[in-house]
Symmetry: C2
Subunit: 119 residues, 2 copies
Amino acid sequence: MFDPTSLKYDAKGLIPAIAQSPEGEVLMMAWMNIEAVKRTLQSGQVTYWSRSRQDFWIKGETSGHLQKLIEMRVDCDRDCLLMIVDQTGPACHTNRRSCFYTALRDGEEVEIMAPMTDA
Amino acid sequence: MFDPTSLKYDAKGLIPAIAQSPEGEVLMMAWMNIEAVKRTLQSGQVTYWSRSRQDFWIKGETSGHLQKLIEMRVDCDRDCLLMIVDQTGPACHTNRRSCFYTALRDGEEVEIMAPMTDA
């Protein structure tokens, strides 16, 4: 059986968690503590630990842009998580599908993704 | 122009960097300091900061499993990097293509990826 205590958390008790769509798009990276890992696995709703608010953060709870967990994966060092998720709408608070919408091209920052519309 | 000092590094001067293949496979996550970001962009060879060795780590320098940078992306909070890379062979030190080869299914850890062979 998987044991959440077997993961390696940092000095603050956190582990980075990457969210990816089934189509392969990396949507965001945020942090979990052991309780957030447990809640995510139990509820199927991806739940991070907000470092700024110092509180649990059920992704999409206020925005409606929920992340439903499809599968959680653990890396070889057990210090990073990859989650395949069913993302409702944008994952980014800027309303873009992914938080990684800025690319570096020829030394310049280029916006490669527009905000989503509700239409 | 992109300025590496504009990124947000943690208390140890590090920023997480996710490596992904052009086909969408998340290969690994490791850490960079500002100098590693600069070296990666200048050389095109992905260069991390090894927290265990406290030294620069040109990915694949000893194994030959190099990561050639295709494109670096910055997230909305400027505290995480996503790199699209051309990965030679396995990204993982276990010889698997990706470090995320362990999935949690029905509460159990399942190995979903076998080590690559040189054949």
